[in-house]
């Protein structure tokens, strides 16, 4: 446990002192700030601030474009870069279980990603301080959903990062996987029969749009997001274990 905590702290610290992570954070804040301002300048949102959380967390560009891309970028340094600079082997031979390594890196990325969402929360607080009468159940519900989706995307990014020392491949693979998770269900959502049912039960923006950011917590959405995250963590662990005999 002590080794796990030490590794987790090391990972969090290394992100906090990484200029790349701050550039990523700055670009995220910039794009989100612009989206926020654009959303706020529309008559619909100005007339009713209840529409802002679904706009940002559900059907807006944040979910469809930004969210799938940023977590894998944060994850590339977790395994791909360690592999590239040759520090992965010593880590895997250190007296700490492989799964603890995966978990420590994942949780560190999750904690750091909360900073990303902290900035978005700051935008809502800014609105509140300027007299915006926000529906906090919707804001916090939407944010919880978006955080859980980003945790899932971090898990897929971590898995993609574990496959190669090539940073572009790691980040691109993770982002591609995330976009698949978003777009494939959307493509088949209107199909009739089992395919349509499965697609609807996997449609992430619907979880956010019609659930979390409408102020409704759905147990299935929670299980789906946490379950898939756990699956990708397990697959990452499998990949690390298999490195010992499949290079």
């Amino acid at each position: 446990m002590r080794a796990f905590v030490a590794l987790w702290k090391r990972e969090v610290f290394s992100m906090l002192v990484s200029p790349f992570a701050f550039v990523l954070l700055g670009v995220w804040f910039l794009l989100n700030g612009m989206l926020f301002v654009v959303a706020l300048s529309t008559q619909q949102v100005m007339a009713d601030l209840r529409l802002l959380p679904p706009f940002l967390f559900g059907s807006g560009m944040l979910v469809w474009l930004l969210l799938p891309a940023f977590p894998p970028l944060l994850c590339i340094r977790l395994f791909a870069e360690e592999h590239r600079v040759g520090t992965l082997e010593p880590l895997l031979t250190a007296p700490i279980r492989d799964f603890a390594v995966v978990l420590a890196k994942y949780l560190a990325a999750c904690v750091f990603f909360l900073l990303f969402w902290g900035g978005v929360l700051l935008l809502f607080l800014l609105l509140h301080w300027h007299g915006g009468n926000l529906d906090w159940a919707r804001v916090l519900g939407g944010m919880l959903g978006a955080i859980l989706v980003s945790f899932l995307f971090l898990a897929t990014g971590l898995w993609a990062s574990s496959w190669s020392s090539n940073l572009v491949l790691g980040a691109g693979g993770g982002a591609a996987l995330n976009y698949l998770l978003l777009f494939v269900p959307a493509l088949f959502e209107l199909n009739e029969g089992p395919l349509g049912s499965v697609a609807r039960s996997m449609h992430l923006p619907n979880f956010l749009d019609r659930g979390f950011s409408a102020g409704l917590l759905d147990s299935y959405a929670l299980v789906y997001l946490l379950g898939l995250s756990a699956l990708f963590l397990f697959l990452t662990w499998m990949r690390l274990v298999s490195r010992r005999w499949v290079p």
Binding site: L25, L40, D135, M238
Partner: protein, 492 residues
């Protein structure tokens, strides 16, 4: 088999097991019995009510709910109105909640303007959807249609001062619940709309089509009939602006209908035939109500004082103070603080009926009202010495003190305005709905209207500039500066 291959296969097997376990876990938790939805809102209205959930759970297996989110009324978009975004946001979240809470009996589909053309056309054809219909709820052999106007009470745009349309209240949850109850029960009451005495048709958009659609929404089956003699298996008879008196055969049927204590809604406006009004007065004498000739007028309150002599005097704006606080029809309207607009009404009167029936004045005028008589010079819309001022009844409800034959209450609603059931239905929809519920035997059912809780944001120019600057420059700028500082520290 080499050790490497064996371990490789083992790893793949473990990964396959993990995937299978996750799929099984998701399948298990997607089962209706294990699915829980928690409403985070302080009002508890973000999701469906217990009544609606319970009704959805009683739907037959294989039921289907399709929501059509098409912005079809352009006036709801004038002056950047927010009607459709708000409405569609509410419908989509409740439809999703309905899918989750229906216990797996309801398949839902949301079709909007972004849906693929093929899917859109397929669903429109399959569900026989007509313009204005927002939700179609279908079971194996029945369907319920809920129109957009039934779901939302909308204040229309004002072209004169460029005020956009806005949603005042909504009843998506209640409408879904009503439709689900009707589908689950599989039985509907039949309402005969009599059209054989000069009345407008129940299929005419300028006539009684709106009333007909309202009846469908409230789980009635409207049937257009020529006269009371055709109302063999009807539960309610509706008469709107009768232009001729009954023929003897229909008059006999009407007397039998009344003797059997069956329900009636009769609306005679100022233009109804005097002979028909006289006949109704005879028919309703025992019930203690009837109709008087004339057009009810009220002075218009304006900045210049009380104005008379304009046709607007015949448009009666009724607020909660003018509704009976004792009757199940009007109590929900008072609770919801509704406003009615009755255009062109004749007085409804009390007659000396028998002691078997109660009478209740549902809607009334203010004390300065008068009934403008139709003299040879025409209507003048101003009070003259031949008329008397005073409170006039616009609608009266009667029923038996105690159940009569076959347990019926003999409920009747007499309304002095025919326009309230045709052209002016839009302004009196809740009163008519409440009346139909009472006539159908539901003594007390809430209209289900709730506020959307709009949260407008109207900051000044400085606030907007500050929010924009902090969002786009402030927060990202500080982050980049911290990144630069980290970079500089690491180089040292």
């Amino acid at each position: 088999m080499s050790r490497r291959l064996r371990l490789g296969l083992l790893t793949m097997f473990a990964a396959a097991c993990a995937i299978a376990f996750t799929v099984l876990l998701l399948y298990t938790f997607s089962r209706p019995g294990l699915r829980v939805r928690i409403d985070l809102s302080s009002t508890g209205t973000a999701g469906l009510s217990d009544r609606t959930v319970s009704a959805l759970n009683q739907l037959p297996e294989g039921s289907r709910l399709t929501a059509f989110l098409f912005p079809e009324d352009d006036s709801f978009r004038w002056f950047n109105a927010n009607v459709y975004p708000q409405a569609f946001d509410r419908i989509t979240s409740l439809v999703e909640d309905a899918r989750v809470q229906s216990g797996g009996k309801l398949e839902t589909l949301v079709i909007d303007i972004n849906s693929p053309m093929v899917a859109r056309e397929r669903e429109i054809n399959r569900s026989q959807r007509k313009p204005g219909e927002a939700i179609v709820l279908e079971s194996v052999d029945q369907r319920r249609v809920i129109s957009f106007e039934d779901l939302f009470q909308i204040l229309r745009a004002n072209v004169n001062d460029s005020t956009p349309a806005r949603i005042q209240r909504e009843r998506v949850d209640t409408a879904l619940g009503d439709a689900a109850v009707a589908l689950a029960s599989g039985s509907t009451l039949k309402a005969g709309i009599v059209t054989g005495y000069g009345q407008a048709s129940a299929t005419d958009p300028n006539g009684l089509l709106g009333l007909s659609q309202l009846l469908v929404r409230d789980n009635w089956e409207p049937i257009e009939i020529e006269g009371p003699a055709d109302a063999v298996d009807c539960d309610l008879l509706i008469f709107v602006d009768q232009k001729q008196p009954f023929l003897p055969s229909d008059l006999k049927s009407m007397e039998d209908w009344l003797a059997a204590d069956k329900a009636i809604m009769v609306a005679l406006g100022p233009n109804a035939s005097p002979a028909a009004a006289k006949q109704w007065n005879t028919l309703l004498k025992d019930r203690g109500t009837g109709f008087e000739p004339g057009l009810i007028c009220e002075p218009i309150r304006s900045a210049a004082g009380m104005v008379e002599g304009r046709s607007d005097c015949a448009k009666l704006e009724l607020n909660a103070e003018r509704f009976s606080g004792q009757h199940p029809i009007t109590i929900p309207l008072i609770e919801d603080n509704r406003l009615l607009l009755v255009i062109g009404a004749r007085p409804v009167i009390f007659q000396s009926g028998t002691n078997d029936y109660t009478q209740e004045r549902l809607l009334r005028t203010d004390p300065l009202a008068w009934a403008d008589s139709q003299d040879p010079n025409g209507l003048v819309f101003s009070y003259d010495k031949n008329e008397t001022r005073g409170i006039r009844s616009i609608a009266v409800a009667t029923e038996r003190w105690s159940p009569g034959k076959e347990g019926r209450m003999g409920r009747i609603v007499a309304l002095g305005s025919a326009a309230s059931l045709s052209a002016g239905l839009e302004f009196n929809r809740d009163f008519i709905t409440s009346s139909l519920q009472w006539l159908g035997g539901d003594d007390r059912k809430s209209s289900g209207l709730i506020g959307l809780g709009e949260r407008p944001f109207q900051p000044d120019r400085d606030s907007i500039a500050r929010i924009n600057n902090i969002s786009v420059y402030g927060i990202p700028g500080v982050t980049f500066l911290i990144g630069l500082w980290v970079f500089w520290r690491r180089r040292r």
